[in-house]
């Protein structure tokens, strides 16, 4: 009886340990973070609605003002920021996004799709250097030389913020 009880206890402990390890691993890989919309600090815009942001990313609004063209900085495929932007702003899959830009350029509405950058550091460099730049980074990647826009009046981490 005692032998069986010890065996059961050890087995339960091993199973619990395994489950804890797995849950921690899953939590690490699927951590949900808000995505911050960042622009050059000199940009006068402070707030955008989600539909305005969608127009900017879709290339339907191409100027902040007459002398300040919008330059969209996008992450490369396979990144969390891109996945969030495609899902919440474009509402498209990756193939639909690529087809969208082929069609848009063919219609002479744009000359190229948004620039695709390999890291959030490059987004940071772009936003700091290009006056009309706009990009999306994880909230943990926000740096002092970035200006974070309110989306529908909300900042990242605030209740009701939709970019995550």
């Amino acid at each position: 009886m005692r032998k069986a009880a010890t065996f059961r206890a050890a087995f339960a402990a091993a199973l619990a340990l395994t489950l804890v390890c797995y849950s921690r691993s899953a939590a690490d890989t699927t951590a949900v973070q808000d995505i911050a919309v960042v622009v050059n600090p000199n940009n006068a815009v402070n707030n955008l609605s989600l539909s305005e942001l969608s127009k900017i990313y879709r290339g339907e609004r191409q100027y902040w003002r007459a002398n300040l063209p919008v330059v969209v900085l996008f992450r490369t495929p396979g990144t969390y920021e891109r996945e969030v932007v495609l899902r919440t702003i474009f509402q498209m899959s990756e193939p639909q996004y690529r087809q969208y830009w082929v069609s848009k350029i063919m219609r002479a509405e744009a000359t190229s799709p948004p620039a695709e950058l390999f890291s959030s550091g490059m987004i940071k460099e772009g936003v700091a250097a290009i006056p009309g730049a706009i990009g999306c980074v994880r909230v943990s990647d926000v740096r002092p030389d970035m200006k974070v826009l309110r989306i529908d009046g909300r900042l990242p981490s605030e209740p009701g913020y939709r970019l995550h």
Binding site: A14, S51, E60, D141
Partner: protein, 441 residues
């Protein structure tokens, strides 16, 4: 005595179990190439975060304070913290290398000019029961599209087509446009356009892969006479401040139709009257995929060869469209009325055409299949002089097109299509089958 042995066995068993689970997990998570890329991208992010922390830490009195609340940066346990001097040296070297060899964020801005080239092509097979016709393969069109920003506010767009003919290929400049953007509300361009007189003509151009069906509707087909497909002149366009309505406009002035009315006046206007066009569209932001619009076009036509008595004709075209471009379902519908007035007799001719097209992207098999159907109707008065020519054999066209599109890849499609056409009350019904592969590269 048995207890320690049993416990040891249990612990051993547990370890074996853990190892087995771990090994299984490892095998299941064999990294694919995309996972490897993702891991590398994640690594770049972590390293950049670490560099930023170190840079911030070494500057006296400069603690990074982002303008918004941010989540805690996870500690980098896998990196050994180097000395400040070492970091400074590494960052300097990295920055130097970055500038010289690698793309950086600042380089994401356009360089001028920067030519973007894209091609479209198609291969077709057709068979009809029309007397005198032959079934067979056809190369279709080979199209090159170029786009190049020339400065922050000036851009060039061009479209060239090569079309197989019985004895050679014809090359055409389909579009050649230089555009100056003042802002989103005013963009001015000059060149040769697809006339913004309806939806299809300015949406799909010569990229057959872009459109669901194999062919264009008869009312706006290339080489057709019903509406002017091309337009040479200048065009002002932009958004109209309208909030969620998403209004836009286009106003153009140009040469209009040539003496052969299926062609644009590329080499000069045939008379001293400019054609004009105005179009307004609405793309409501709350109904993504919906577009509603209307256009009006005016011109004076001097047909070549001249008709008996050398009449001129004033032309006024009114058109409207409503489309829903979401593919579940896709709905395209257009209507146009072409009004001609003979300058000698004052006789008026009104011709109408419309089409309705429905498509639906099926949810199965990775959404690769899309069946569609289009109904077309065109009415031209029997006495209409400008459309009564041998190469425009339309009087009262009634046509049904049914087909299915299969997307072989993200940029190539295969389409099967059946058409049932009746061109006039006394004409025989023509049945036709088509297969096309169209793609972009």
């Amino acid at each position: 005595m048995a207890t320690p042995v049993t416990t040891r066995r249990c612990v051993l068993l547990s370890l074996v179990l853990l190892l087995a689970i771990g090994a299984t997990a490892q095998t299941a998570n064999e990294p694919s190439q995309s996972e490897l890329v993702n891991a590398l991208l994640g690594r770049i992010d972590k390293l950049e975060r670490r560099v930023a922390e170190l840079e911030a830490g070494k500057s006296p009195g400069s603690t990074p304070q982002p303008q918004t609340p941010q989540a805690e940066v996870p500690p980098m346990q896998t990196l050994q913290t180097p000395s400040t001097e070492e970091v400074q040296k590494r960052v300097a070297t990295q920055t130097h290398e970055h500038d010289e060899h690698l793309p950086n964020g600042a380089a994401a801005e356009h360089h001028f000019p920067s030519l973007q080239l894209r091609g479209f092509a198609d291969v077709d097979f057709s068979a009809t029961d029309e007397p005198g016709s032959h079934s067979g393969f056809n190369l279709g069109q080979f199209v090159l599209h170029v786009a190049s920003p020339l400065s922050k506010k000036v851009a060039y767009f061009g479209e060239l087509s090569f079309t197989a003919q019985p004895t050679s290929y014809t090359a055409d400049v389909e579009r050649s446009i230089i555009r100056y953007d003042y802002n989103d509300y005013f963009k001015l361009s000059f060149g040769r356009y697809h006339t913004p007189i309806n939806y299809w003509n300015t949406e799909f151009h010569h990229g057959l892969w872009l459109q669901t069906t194999i062919s264009r509707p008869e009312m706006i087909r290339f080489g057709g006479r019903f509406q002017p497909v091309h337009f040479l002149g200048m065009l002002a366009e932009g958004n109209i401040p309208s909030g969620p309505l998403g209004l836009g406009y286009e106003i153009g002035l140009g040469n209009g139709r040539a003496g052969t009315i299926s062609r644009a006046g590329d080499a000069g206007d045939v008379n001293n009257n400019r054609a004009w066009v105005a179009r307004v569209i609405a793309r409501p932001t709350g109904l993504r995929g919906l577009q509603v619009g209307g256009a009006i076009y005016g011109d004076e036509i001097t047909p070549t060869p001249a008709l008996s008595g050398h009449p001129r004709f004033s032309e006024l075209i009114e058109s409207a469209h409503i489309v829903w471009t979401s593919e579940t379902p896709e709905f395209l519908s257009e209507f146009a009325n072409v009004h001609h007035r003979d300058s000698l007799t004052g006789t008026v001719y009104n011709s109408q055409a419309y089409y309705v097209q429905l498509g639906y992207r099926l949810p199965w098999q990775q959404k690769k299949w899309k069946p569609y159907y289009r109904f077309e109707y065109m009415h031209i008065p029997a006495t209409e002089p400008l459309f009564s020519v041998p190469d425009f054999e339309v009087k009262d066209l009634v046509s049904s097109t049914a087909g299915i599109r299969y997307d072989i890849s993200d940029f190539a499609a295969l389409k099967w299509e059946y058409r049932h056409i009746k061109r006039g009350p006394t004409d025989p019904i023509v049945n036709a089958a088509f297969v096309q592969t169209s793609f972009t590269f």
